[in-house]
Symmetry: C2
């Protein structure tokens, strides 16, 4: 392994000078710079990142902690983060928390010891105290889907409640008379907000009943199961707003198996806009979050923070949009 010393020797300068041309820091004579670069070339020298990290406490590595990389929402997010990080010269570590608090704690500790430059938290098991801990240790973080508040770190979120309202409105505008909601886990803020939006949108309608809200755990199976009980209690439901696309896909599947035509008999609207929502037949109408954009923004902000740039906005709330596809009826003009 060739080191900075070898280069220095070959170029007939000191290691400091080599370091300077390597980092473009300080003054270096034009000609010496050329000599050094030549030596680097000839020796095919590559600086050792670890040594560098030890010396300046920067590793060029960020981490993203998410519940499960297999969840299409998070794999898309992860992809965005990695793309952005790569552009910025960073490398990314991914951690599957399964929303387990203990696991998350473990990761945080390991990452800290590794001098990780920053962390993106897309996991829900993270508490306010974790944020405090990160702050104390001076390690920049960006969190997703937290409530707006005095968190002391960048928060990226999207308009969950407003999106839910859009979903219900759209179902009504396309002819639905009785709309149910398959809800996500009560602990998750995104699920809470979407439920809140649903409630707001259906408030005052005589057909509304609490039992139109059924849990679906943000999973395919959950969505599948939710449907049967729902239709038993409310055979006349003609619209379903699922709290995320996975549950919508599960519901779609269950409904199709029951012989219901979508959207003729029942309309279905999801939430998230994962790529997979285009893969069903019919394709899923959904409230799309700009997932890739969220990942990109998360990474961009984190990197800015790492570079010490003061970041003005602390809470980014991104717009969602209705993507009309074929699991809901056409709007009557």
């Amino acid at each position: 392994m060739t080191t900075i010393r070898d280069v220095a020797a070959r170029a007939g300068v000191s290691v400091a000078t080599v370091s300077r041309v390597l980092n473009g820091s300080g003054y270096v004579g034009k000609d010496t710079e050329i000599r050094v670069k030549k030596a680097i070339q000839e020796l095919n020298y590559r600086p050792n990142t670890v040594a560098r990290s030890l010396a300046n406490r920067k590793t060029g590595t960020i981490a993203v902690i998410l519940p499960d990389i297999m969840n299409p929402f998070f794999s898309e997010l992860a992809r965005a983060v990695e793309d952005t990080a790569r552009d910025g010269g960073f490398t990314v570590i991914f951690c599957n928390s399964d929303d387990l608090g203990t696991r998350e704690q473990h990761y945080i500790e390991v990452l800290r010891q590794k001098y990780i430059d920053g962390i993106i938290f897309a996991s829900n098991s993270m508490g306010e105290d974790d944020i405090v801990y990160m702050n104390e240790n001076r390690i920049p973080i960006v969190v997703l889907d937290r409530a707006p508040g005095k968190s002391g770190c960048t928060v990226i979120r999207s308009q969950n409640a407003a999106g839910a309202v859009m979903a219900v409105r759209h179902l009504m505008e396309t002819g639905c008379r009785k709309i149910a909601h398959i809800a996500g886990p009560g602990e998750l803020i995104t699920a809470q907000e979407r439920l809140r939006g649903y409630r707001k949108a259906v408030k005052g309608f005589t057909w509304f009943d609490e039992s139109l809200i059924v849990p679906g755990h943000f999973s395919i199976r959950g969505g599948e199961r939710a449907v049967s009980g729902l239709l038993e209690r409310h055979p006349d439901v003609d619209g379903i707003f699922a709290g995320n696309d996975l549950m919508a896909i599960g519901a779609l599947k269950a409904l199709q198996r029951m012989g219901r035509k979508i959207p003729r008999d029942i309309s279905l609207c999801g939430f998230d806009g994962v790529e997979m929502s285009e893969w069903t037949e019919p394709e899923l109408t959904t409230i799309a979050q700009p997932i890739y954009e969220m990942g990109r923004k998360a990474a961009t902000h984190l990197i800015a923070r790492i570079r010490g740039k003061a970041v003005k906005e602390d809470i980014l709330e991104l717009d969602v949009r209705l993507v009309e596809r074929n699991s809901t009826r056409r709007r009557k003009n």
Copy 2:
């Protein structure tokens, strides 16, 4: 930040001793060990991994280079790798190559500079020369889906050709008379092998024709597009073997949109066994690779190599199995 020196001072010993108890290496008196451990406790000391890495050239980090984390096959693989790595005390970096040679080269270089302990290549753009390069640099690697050969590194693969034969046989046994194949990219060895299996299975049948083989690029869209041209040329096709599940899902979607009933009019069989293949309606019959198992094995072997354990088998060929679901007809008993 508290360092090993602080601990040493507090315990009234030298840093060497602290290092010894930290690593369980060398002899340490029972009582001094206790004193040191107590000091570590009290100071809540955590060794700095970077310093450690610089000193012993081990980072406790592995990387997995894959085409795209958003592809469900690879996200499942990545999940398996991370789970296994975590159990072994490793952390994992993921890299999306998009099968771009240049990008892969870039990663390899970056990772080498970071003293990464080992790499899992699940990307197809990697050549024999990359393997040689890694060997020269003494960095252990495990590759997926390479041809068996003198690669000088662990190879994990599955029985692609045999699986393809199983698929075609199954279609025939369940009543199909004319079976088409949607093939993956010609450059990919997995695609080649599956095509080879298909050819072997249909050889000799009078209905077979080269034009029953259509390209689908291993993607949803590709599968979708493949179908229309295929049915135009061969309206009597009643069975399709898709080279992977994504293409099968695309085909399923296209067929459904064309009003064909699956499996009544046409039977469909995929390959891979990604979780997503259960999410369609009807669920997809497929030749399942043990994806998670492949990831787990890849990580296990890599870690063994990193730890210097001599690994006997160099090529692991895993079994595939037919998962009969509802996109093909029931076998007549």
